[in-house]
């Protein structure tokens, strides 16, 4: 395989993996902060246990998010040195600001929160979990502003000497609507991810009639937040669609498998393409819906892939400007399905609480809903990144011109296989611990570790 493909594979693998853990961190931080605040206000021991129990799951997940985040920052230079040279005047700033404003805050205060209980004033301990939640969400803002710039470059001029974009409007960079819509979509997705984890785990315990009071409260708050967050994710996504239609028409058309320009444009429920994924064979369509997704009305014209391809060849020179449609098309539909199911289920869970929920027969099936936001998160990320292909920076730089020129296939195979193995082992350890602590329940979370007290070790060495 060529270095570009290997570097893309590695970046895709490490990014999707990182983002598997991030949304839960983003959302769960707020939940734990709110639970601990309720404990602080009421001195109700149930809230204390809630904060400890969900906090334990938060910490197990947080660790992997942090360590895999370091890889992300390094990889731009390691694998994409030409990209880094090209965009350095602009893209480095939000990354540096992310570290300075957000990473320091979440890491320092997480340490204080974990080690400070009972040793520092209660108010300070409470403030520290809020600062962790704010810090991690702040970090999402800056990295999404950076990514927003790759999707929709703003605030720059091209330096005539080097041909590279130079920052000339920092304010435009940090108010890029693309980044802020991403932020809205992602923060809401984080809250939804945490909500569905809480719903699933609470249902597991309610079905077994353990800690009914604690898990009923958890279930209730997660159903409310989960419903609001899922609706917000949908609205953010819909706003995003209209923005994509204006700024990245090719991504829009490829999401819809819309080959030819239509007025108004229909929505494809099912399209079968040929093996290359770039030609349509047969499709089943709903009239006018794509126009709604793109412009918020049922009548507008949506440009098709063929038209845009012709335009781009004139504008940027010969080349294939069509993303891998089988990916954009299906990830969008999977994401939408998961999203609508989440809205529906959160609504049903909310209504179901009018009766004593712990007696409901269907509770034992609820843990499966934990998977829904994870599917949606992963699909959304793949969609937005692969929908930008062949560009790494929309309209300015192609992926094939961004890769580090000095790397050999062997270098890349070593790192790709190395990361894949290491990440695989970490995933096993994470799932093992998450499951163990989720099942063990709140009483175990008050302890250092589940099961028995540790035997003395190391007497042999």
């Amino acid at each position: 395989m060529d270095p570009v493909t290997l570097s893309r594979l590695q970046f895709g693998l490490t990014t999707v993996y990182h983002f598997f853990f991030v949304p839960f961190t983003l959302g769960m931080g707020w939940f734990v902060a709110i639970m601990q605040t309720r404990y602080y206000q009421t001195k109700d021991e149930t809230f204390h246990k809630m904060a400890k129990f969900w906090g334990k799951l938060f910490l197990i997940n947080f660790a992997i998010g942090v360590v895999t985040g370091i890889v992300q920052e390094f990889q731009f230079g390691m694998n994409w040195s030409e990209y880094s040279r090209f965009v350095g005047d602009i893209f480095g700033a939000p990354l540096a600001i992310e570290a300075l404003l957000a990473f320091f805050m979440e890491s320092t205060f997480l340490g204080i929160w974990v080690f400070g209980e009972g040793k520092i004033p209660e108010k300070v301990h409470l403030a520290s979990i809020w600062l962790v939640a704010i810090g991690s969400n702040l970090s999402a803002l800056w990295i999404l502003l950076a990514n927003g710039w790759m999707q929709h470059p703003v605030g720059y001029v091209i330096d005539p000497a080097t041909g590279r974009p130079m920052l000339n409007d920092f304010f435009a960079l940090i108010t890029n609507p693309k980044g802020w819509i991403f932020f809205w979509h992602t923060i809401a997705a984080g809250l939804a991810t945490a909500s569905f984890m809480i719903l699933g785990v609470s249902a597991y315990h309610l079905a077994r009639k353990s800690n009914i009071d604690l898990f009923k409260r958890s279930f209730q708050i997660a159903a409310i937040v989960g419903l609001i967050a899922s609706v917000l994710v949908f609205l953010g996504g819909h706003t995003q669609g209209q923005y994509i239609y204006q700024t990245q028409p090719m991504k829009m058309a490829s999401i819809e498998a819309l080959w030819d320009t239509e007025t108004p444009a229909s929505f494809s429920i099912l399209t079968i393409g040929d093996l290359s994924g770039k030609r349509e064979v047969w499709s089943l369509r709903l009239p006018d819906l794509t126009s709604f997704l793109a412009c918020n009305n049922f009548t507008c014209t949506v440009r098709g892939v063929n038209d845009i391809q012709t335009e781009y060849i004139q504008k940027y020179g010969p080349g294939d400007y069509i993303p891998l449609m089988v990916v954009t098309y299906w990830t969008f539909r999977l994401m939408m399905t998961a999203g609508f199911l989440m809205i529906l289920l959160a609504g049903l869970f909310l209504i179901a609480q009018r009766q004593p929920i712990e007696n409901a027969k269907w509770l034992k099936w609820v843990p499966w809903v934990i998977a829904l936001p994870y599917v949606a998160n992963m699909c959304g990320w793949l969609l937005t990144e692969m929908g930008r292909q062949p560009w790494i920076v929309q309209g300015l730089l192609k992926v094939q011109d961004a890769v580090s020129p000095n790397l050999t296939t062997l270098d890349l195979l070593i790192s790709l296989i190395g990361f894949a193995l290491l990440y695989g082992v970490l995933a096993v350890a994470d799932v093992y611990l998450m499951k163990k602590y989720a099942i063990a329940g709140p009483d175990a979370a008050m302890q250092e570790s589940v099961d028995v007290t540790p035997a003395l070790i190391g007497t042999r060495d």
Binding site: S81, L95, A99, P405, N406, V450, P454, I457
Partner: protein, 357 residues
């Protein structure tokens, strides 16, 4: 006036904050970030490497981990900020170094990943084998970054093959030359000493005495390594032509400070021993960055192809914006991070009841 320029104005060449001044300022700022990182994470790495050797049982090992438990993650952010700041201020330096040291950085990342995970996961399961494994991963995950960063920094000052397009033309083995390895071993041994001094300061009882005797042994290795590095620096770098045979106050003081550490260790002056290894790290880094300046990547292929703060930097506008942000937020970070150390200033005893897991 500068704030007004944040929004859509062309850079004014008459501006009193000249480009050259900003380039120098950011070189210094990045140096400060590395110095902070090595000073703070230096003892974290040392403590990590010592963990399986000093802690005889589970409670002792937990006490050792807790000595850095609340701070190691915040300390590591200094590295991330140094990386981010290099990207923002000197994108060419970031691109050349990170792509050039590819496999070394891959191994560094592996080290940081397994270390970070182990701190969080080792006590989450009571199985002795589980804990034993994670303890060793902490040690390896602390050793690898120390070795690799020492090797990388020695190579930076020695010069590495870079062509006229600012692209590194060597491979991993290019870095494993004698001087690079001396740099790596020096960093490992100095961090071990810094870590054992820190533990002597931070722990209590039997563990404290064990850390002290570890310091006494490690001292001789570290002292020999530092002297060897100082001498070989005259052979492998351009110090004698750039600075002169007399290297100036900082490098001499850095060696002297390390050599007198043994006095503090023997006199049981724990605070001073820790300060002197810390000071040694700071002074060594100052000497390093002075020798580099104004270059950021020295080309051993052709000195004219070296990257400098002038040909590797961002535009004046980007540097001005970043300077304002750094000016506001660096002091805030320093205050709350300093405060977090103050809050956990108490010594830690290897007593199960008082330990946080």
């Amino acid at each position: 006036m500068l704030l007004l320029r944040l929004s859509g104005h062309e850079t004014d060449p008459e501006d009193n904050m000249s480009h050259e001044f900003l380039q120098t300022l950011w070189f210094i700022l990045i140096a400060v970030l590395w110095i902070g990182f090595f000073f703070l994470e230096g003892f974290d790495f040392g403590v990590g490497m010592l963990l399986p050797f000093l802690g005889k049982n589970d409670v002792e090992r937990r006490a050792i981990i807790n000595s850095i438990g609340s701070v190691w993650d915040g300390n590591e952010v200094w590295l991330l900020t140094a990386g981010g700041a290099t990207f923002a201020a000197f994108p060419q330096w970031y691109a050349t170094m990170f792509s050039g040291f590819y496999l070394a950085l891959f191994l560094l990342l592996v080290g940081l990943i397994i270390r970070g995970i182990s701190f969080e996961y080792r006590s989450k399961d009571p199985n002795p084998k589980w804990r034993h494994t994670f303890d060793w991963m902490i040690a390896v995950g602390s050793f690898l970054p120390s070795l690799l960063l020492g090797t990388a920094f020695a190579n930076l000052v020695r010069g590495v093959p870079i062509n006229q397009n600012m692209t590194y033309t060597g491979n991993l083995f290019t870095l494993l030359n004698p001087y690079g390895l001396i740099g790596g071993l020096t960093m490992v041994s100095v961090f071990l000493l810094h870590g054992s001094n820190f533990l002597t300061l931070k722990l209590d009882g039997d563990l404290r005495e064990r850390a002290r005797s570890a310091s006494k042994k490690i001292y001789w290795v570290a002292a020999a390594a530092v002297v060897l590095l100082a001498i070989t620096t005259y052979i492998f770098t351009d110090i004698s032509t750039k600075i002169g045979i007399n290297p100036g106050v900082m490098p001499i003081a850095s060696v002297v400070v390390l050599l007198i550490t043994i006095y503090f260790i023997n006199q049981k002056m724990e605070g001073w021993a820790f300060v002197s290894t810390g000071l040694h790290i700071v002074l060594t880094q100052i000497a390093f960055f002075t020798l580099m300046f104004p270059r950021v990547m020295i080309s051993s292929t052709n000195p004219d192809w070296s990257l400098t703060i002038y040909n590797a930097s961002s535009s004046q506008y980007t540097l001005s914006v970043m300077s304002i942000i750094a000016l506001i937020f660096v002091p805030i970070v320093l205050i709350y991070q300093g405060w977090s150390y103050y809050m956990f200033r108490k010594r830690i005893t290897a007593d199960k009841k008082s330990l946080v897991y």
